[in-house]
Symmetry: C2
Subunit: 189 residues, 2 copies
Amino acid sequence: MSLEVSTRLKLVREKHALSQRELAKRAGVTNSTISLIEQNRVSPSISSLKKVLDGVPMSLAEFFTFDIEEPARPSPFFEREQMPDIGGEGVQLFLVGHGVQNRHITMLREIYEAGADTGAEMLSHAGQEVGMVVRGEIELTVAEQSRVLKPGEGYYFDSTLPHRFRNLSQQEAEIVSASLVSPNAAPSF
Amino acid sequence: MSLEVSTRLKLVREKHALSQRELAKRAGVTNSTISLIEQNRVSPSISSLKKVLDGVPMSLAEFFTFDIEEPARPSPFFEREQMPDIGGEGVQLFLVGHGVQNRHITMLREIYEAGADTGAEMLSHAGQEVGMVVRGEIELTVAEQSRVLKPGEGYYFDSTLPHRFRNLSQQEAEIVSASLVSPNAAPSF
DNA sequence: CGGCGGTGTTTAATATATTGGACATTGCAC
DNA sequence: GTGCAATGTCCAATATATTAAACACCGCCG
């Protein structure tokens, strides 16, 4: 074990932007438990550690296996000029995330009212997520990275990373986005 | 987790041919602890599970990661005709384990008196092990597989599997064998 | 047959993890 | 500033894991 359980848990929890109490609630344990574990003052039982990780969610195998140093995750942001136009018929489309490894996602379209967002809670689900701002401005937060995207700018990230969209402006904002329903499906191109 | 902690521990322990008490002694815990864990009547603490696995030895990551069904481990035994003669100068050598994946070991020579063996305890160490019987007969046990090898027959297995050599006959036996000092070294051929 | 050394299991006592609730601190709204 | 809702920490009570020692069983040898 190259890393303490305490350190690992804290890393996992913080990467998913959860407080001790929040994670505790999801996991069905008390915040004390998580606090003590992260201070390395107890050695949790497998059952309770499993409960905690279920709240993330993450398997025990992942927990003990995951690498300490994040592999310098490539920026999820793409500049305008990086987006080749592959437009379709009725709707104009852009291929975003050009060059991303193992990509197999295509886009949809969304419109945000002024001030709207995807909820206080960070989203996190299977698959990958891609998109681009068409009109207005959208603040996108992915894990610890955050940026206000203007028209023509886009994003590409793994949907399991906690993320949130917020329209902080006074104007309506429009983005094209997509998440893959079956992450295991073969790329269609 | 595709498998219970209890089941995994029992599999690991039995694969290494250890009794509950034997493993307990190596791990510095009591046999009761291991018994209760294997009956799934307790959920061990990380610390104690780690202690137990240190007695194998095996890391927590391995423990939670290792695959349930053994991948039909190829037979460690090789018939005489499978051994091409690549003889050297003073000593005659044979290349054993021809066709084994990721092999990078060469041989040494050993002689066993009548009734001699490598000790009551099963051996287990890093690297790979290869050999062939030159004269006499040698009983080789590798994990749960056991066979008496006669002159011209050989073996090839991972040294981390528990193993033992025994000369059950009344005659001296001679084998050529080798274990790799640095398992990570590049193959020299 | 009886005894010996091995196996895995069980139980009461002890050590440890976990809880429930309090605490101190911080940041934000009013 | 006060109030409020977060945050992480700490502590006594409780639940659970771990121990130490016994138990029953088995195969073997005298």
